[in-house]
């Protein structure tokens, strides 16, 4: 019974809300579960069908992102030949396709007995340590054991034990708890492409771990904690301040550690941020996060936090809010004030600052170079010629070109998505004309073997993505841009040809041909090369592909979480602010959550602070910029603030305050700025504004942000008149948590800026997708309960509103090609083009406060090509001096074969190293010992 079905699922709870989705399903089949007919989507397996119908069926080895292998035997159901068959046969529901008219039974006694027996077998060796297991309370094995009814160990023999391994600062290993479902290896090895976790030994004593103790190499290892159905792999950072899932106050959040804006759930207890878990969003991060995003949250709890407003150069510097405000009143009324925005502050904060200082006095706190590139990105995306690529689009693509961006390090989850795109394409090709369902993971892998989909990875140096790439190019950025233009020329012959070497020309032709064949190609580039030509080249390719492909997507990676939001505001760069303060004496600057010394070379920043009459700095952590502040105001981190970020694809997403800090001095930057605004106007107290009011103001001030105010439901959104609770209903200790301070419980904290409460009181059903503070469903305590929130396993959330896209795609917009291309790169004498090498661990400012991230961050080095090393007379490890801005550093040399001659690479963003003249030329001199 195939028919086309178009369902409009209006959010039944919230009428007249924008949160509704349209699901279009092509083919539906009718199956009979326990003699009741159900309409299910064809092409799925029975387990998926049962779960999507809300039937509780236990499983272990199946995972929506990993497919089925039928290893755990847990999801057994009985399938009948026809409606008259009463005997039936037991099958694993994850391995059985849906057939129209199929009869099955979930509640059949044999099937139930089988399932509970399987659990009983698994539990014969499972240790008696749930009380000290970090998974307890969010454990899939616990849930499934309860679901099948096993409650007593009848097996009297001894339990198997294993020794554990040290797996690095993030993952704790407790192998005794393993139930041999193979999910870890299938995720780590097959899905994420890690090589150092595998299965060892045999029979009933297989072992999941590394060949020897050591740090897990994959930057996606943190997902093991969620993939593992029990407590073999658990979060070590959570272990430092362990809290059960039921005790966390959680809120939907957005990762602040790169520009992708992965959705996360941040959990707090006793005033400290405890953990970050994944928040499923079908368009953005799906099921997985990178380790920086998952573990980089410790800065919120850092001792380096700014806790007290300071007015420097007086007898008593630490002041309270009243004194501060009095001081600021005179400051901002008597002087010209300028504002320096921040790529890591929310749109709200930046807009509040812009409104306070005026549009013409608002500057981006980033360099001219970077600002120019970002402006170009915003420009090309605003043309609407090509769609921006969500991570889901990248996963679904059939050909990917990465042009000049080291996405593995600057946008890790995008690299994971690229890998899925490649694997998915290979599987799709292999499955053509074969009656094999795509969810049949083991069989599909057998069929695919080592085949890969098309990926061209054009970067400065080697990347872990190279090994799954069809075509790899390593060259200087200008050269990469020229390759890009050459590809465009191949796709659109009307453009003028590009002169390249023969080798490169062959690769270009191959890449162009592959892209031309693709139906859903994706072009990826970004800012990390500090090269604007790459942006244009990537755009040209995407624009040219519109002629041949069904859907072309383009993705630009930006440096920070709100770089796109800031760039869209179109303010001028920091250098212009320096000029301004140099010309006018009477200028007071307000710096918003921005360590200028990370974005600008130190000497320029010094000039700025020298010339500035007064500097008001809002930030959450002490850094070189806050040292220069005349007035320092403690700002809230993402966990203590409401705000909106615009990610690299122009998707605005709201993050919510997780907790109100006990220290009342710590407030959201935009709140401080609105208070200043009220001081300046002399009206109101600046308290009456909610995030959506600031966003509405943003829309009024800047039409390019149209739609951003509807990114999430307003602060007074209620369901049946009820707020949404941040804490699950089992939240414990309410009458004892603070009783050491005062035995009478304080009134629960109130949140005027979001629909959430800080307690477990409120609406207990399923909230709309941007407002999901935790995933929980009766009987499903683990993160696997996300199934219950989805339209179908692995599909979009029910009524998903996956953020607000700010760039409108215009089908009819005709591409305008950028024709001016850079000159071919030529190595200079005695001068090297200095480029940044980013690292997942270490290059990002805030995540560095997590000790594990600092531990895994690299030491500073300088990388040059083999051909350059010889004339310089250096070998791997010998010291080389680099002169930058009148300052000389001596650094160890690393020789990288993949580098082009004349290019030098240095790790970027590590603390203690000042900003280098990226994409500029530096002198290198060998240090003679």
């Amino acid at each position: 019974m195939a028919k086309s079905l178009k369902l409009v699922v209006a959010c039944s709870l919230i009428h007249d809300s924008p949160f509704e989705v349209i699901i279009t399903n092509d083919t539906m089949s009718t199956i009979y579960i326990d003699n009741k007919p159900f309409e299910v989507k064809a092409g799925k397996n029975l387990l998926e069908a049962c779960l999507s119908l809300g039937i509780d069926l236990p499983y272990f080895c199946w995972h929506p992102a990993l497919g089925s292998v039928g290893a755990c035997r847990q999801c057994a159901v009985k399938v009948f030949k026809d409606e008259n068959d009463t005997r039936g046969r037991l099958v694993m529901s994850c391995m059985e396709s849906i057939k129209d008219g199929l009869h099955l039974s979930v509640s059949d006694t044999t099937a139930k007995a089988f399932r509970s027996q399987v659990i009983e077998w698994l539990m014969t060796n499972h240790p008696h340590d749930c009380p000290v297991c970090d998974e307890g309370g969010s454990c899939h094995l616990q849930d499934m054991t309860v679901m099948t009814g096993h409650d007593y160990r009848r097996y009297h023999y001894k339990k198997r034990t294993y020794t554990n391994q040290y797996l690095g600062p993030f993952i704790h290993h407790e192998m005794n708890r393993c139930i041999q479902c193979y999910r870890c290896v299938r995720y780590y090895h097959d899905y994420a492409g890690g090589k150092d976790l595998n299965v060892f030994a045999a029979h009933n004593h297989v072992y999941f771990g590394r060949e020897q103790n050591g740090v897990l190499q994959s930057p996606f290892s943190g997902n093991l904690t969620e993939v593992c159905p029990t407590g073999v792999f658990t979060d070590k950072t959570l272990r430092e301040h362990y809290t059960r899932k039921w005790d966390l106050t959680t809120a939907p959040s957005v990762c602040h550690h790169c520009s992708l804006g992965c959705n996360t759930i941040a959990g707090e207890r006793y005033g400290a941020l405890r953990c970050i878990t994944n928040r499923f969003n079908s368009q953005v991060n799906g099921y997985f996060l990178c380790d920086r995003g998952r573990f980089g949250y410790e800065f919120v709890n850092s001792d380096n936090r700014i806790t007290q407003p300071l007015i420097r150069n007086r007898a008593v510097e630490a002041v309270d809010e009243t004194v501060l405000m009095d001081h600021l009143r005179t400051l901002i009324t008597n002087n010209t004030i300028i504002g320096i925005g921040s790529p890591r502050a929310s749109v709200e904060s930046n807009v509040a600052l812009m409104q306070l200082v005026g549009k013409e006095n608002f500057y981006q706190g980033i360099s001219d170079n970077l600002g120019f590139i970002e402006k170009r990105i915003v420009e090309v995306l605003q043309t609407g010629v090509v769609k921006t690529a969500s991570l889901n689009d990248i996963q679904q693509s059939d050909a990917i070109l990465v042009l000049g961006e080291d996405i593995w390090n600057t946008a890790p989850v995008m690299a994971l998505a690229v890998r899925q795109g490649v694997m998915h394409t290979a599987a799709e090709q292999a499955l053509q004309n074969r009656a094999l369902p795509a969810w049949h993971d083991a069989a599909v892998r057998e069929l695919v073997q080592e085949e890969k989909g098309f990926l061209a990875n054009c970067t400065i140096t080697t990347s872990p993505l190279d090994e799954i790439s069809t075509s790899v190019v390593h060259a200087a950025p200008d050269e990469l841009a020229r390759i890009g233009f050459a590809i465009t020329q191949h796709l659109n012959a009307s453009l003028s040809p590009v002169q390249l070497g023969n080798d490169a020309m062959t690769k270009v032709a191959a890449i162009a041909a592959a892209l031309q064949r693709a139906k859903r190609p994706v072009i990826i580039s970004g800012t990390s090369c500090y090269n604007e030509a790459l942006i244009r080249a990537a755009f040209d390719i995407a624009a040219a592909l519109k002629a041949t492909a069904d859907e072309v997507h383009i993705a630009y990676v930006l440096p920070e979480c709100n770089s796109m939001g800031l760039a869209m505001m179109g303010a001028s760069s920091f250098e212009n602010a320096v000029l301004r303060v140099s010309r006018n004496t009477n200028v007071t600057a307000i710096l918003l959550e921005n360590d200028i010394y990370r974005n600008m070379p130190a000497h320029i920043a010094d000039v700025f602070f020298d010339k500035c009459q007064q500097c008001i700095v809002l930030d959450s952590l002490n850094n070189p910029t806050t040292q220069k502040a005349d007035v320092l105001i403690p700002a809230a981190t993402f966990a203590e603030a409401d705000g909106t970020l615009v990610n690299n694809e122009g998707r605005a997403q709201r993050f919510y305050q997780v907790f109100i800090p006990a220290n009342k001095n710590i407030q959201e930057s935009w709140k401080w700025l609105l208070k200043l605004q009220a001081l300046k106007n002399g009206t109101g107290n600046g308290q009456a504004h909610h995030p959506e009011d600031v966003l509405t103001l943003c829309e009024q001030l800047m039409p390019q942000f149209t739609g951003i105010a509807s990114v999430a439901p307003p602060h007074d959104f209620r369901i049946h008149g009820q707020s949404l609770p941040r804490a699950p209903h089992r939240y414990s200790g309410r009458t004892a948590m603070l009783s050491n301070l005062a035995v009478s419980e304080p009134k629960p904290k109130q949140d005027g800026d979001s629909p959430f409460t800080f307690t477990m009181e409120g609406f207990s059903g399923m909230p709309p997708s941007p407002l999901i503070p935790f995933f929980w469903s009766p009987g499903w305590n683990s993160i696997q309960s996300v199934n219950k929130y989805q339209q179908e396993p692995g599909g979009a959330l029910r009524n998903e509103h996956a953020g607000q896209l700010l760039f409108q795609y215009k089908q009819e917009a005709a591409p305008v090609y950028f024709k001016d291309m850079p000159e071919a790169f030529v190595a200079r004498n005695e001068k090297w083009l200095l480029l940044p090498q980013y690292y997942i661990m270490g290059s990002e400012e805030l995540s560095f406060y997590t000790s594990g991230v600092a531990e895994l961050s690299p030491d500073v080095y300088i990388a040059i090509s083999e051909k350059d090393a010889e004339p310089l007379g250096v070998v791997n490890g010998s010291l080389i001096s680099i002169k930058v801005f009148e300052q000389t550093y001596e650094l160890p040399v690393k020789i990288e074969a993949a580098l082009q001659r004349g290019v030098a690479l240095m790790p970027a963003g590590l603390p203690g190293i000042q900003v280098m003249p990226w994409n500029g030329y530096v002198q290198l001199v060998s240090v003679k010992l």
Binding site: P127, H128, D129, C130, P131, V132, G136, G137, Y157, K158, K159, R160, T161, Y162, T163, N164, E174, N176, R177, F200, A201, A202, H203, N204, H205, Y207, G209, R239, H241, Y242, T243, R244, W246, D247, Y270, R730, Y731, S732, G733, R734, T735, A736, M737, S739, N740, A742, V743, S744
Partner: protein
């Protein structure tokens, strides 16, 4: 109607029955060993703290009067960093004791803990810990739990095989 009158008469006769009232505090009621009174934290046979900070008592508590924070020593043994019971909220239901997987938290036959100042009813770990195994002698959770926490090595616990040799393919 007559049965009503009879009832009234029989009730009236109770005027002359012996009274059940125990005149506390002059006279004390005998308490049974499993009487649910004061809550204590017990120690295991080796003298270590029994509480492993699993939070089950806290979540079982219907009035949410237990708050704790688990932490770990260098050997991986879990214990509560702080453990607080707000006895001004406690209803002595004993659910915490039922939930405790390590016999750490126990209710003992002592109810005389009245205070004039309510704040004095907030008990911290120091006030709760007793140097006794309480009602369940001989039990040490870390001897039966799988993991290694400085009490026994892997495979040396009760009912455990020695650790698997992962280099072996023998059955």
């Amino acid at each position: 109607m007559l049965s009503h009158l009879r009832t009234m008469w029989l009730v009236f006769l109770h005027l002359f029955h012996k009274k059940e009232t125990i005149e506390y505090p002059e006279e004390k009621a005998p308490l049974h060993p499993r009487y649910r009174g004061r809550i204590v934290l017990t120690t295991d046979p080796d003298g270590g703290e029994r509480c492993v900070g699993c939070y089950l008592c806290a979540v079982a508590c219907p009035v949410d009067c237990i708050a704790l924070q688990a932490t770990e020593d260098e050997e991986g043994r879990r214990y509560p960093e702080f453990f607080r019971i707000n006895f001004s909220r406690c209803i002595f239901c004993g659910y915490c004791e039922d939930a405790c997987p390590t016999y750490a938290i126990q209710l003992i036959p002592d109810f005389e803990m009245a205070e004039y100042n309510r704040q004095n009813l907030v008990f911290e770990k120091e006030d709760l810990l007793i140097n006794s195994q309480g009602k369940y002698p001989g039990y040490n959770f870390y001897r039966v739990a799988g993991l290694e926490a400085g009490v026994k090595k892997k495979g040396e616990g009760v009912n455990e095989e020695p650790p698997v040799d992962v280099h072996s393919l023998l059955p």
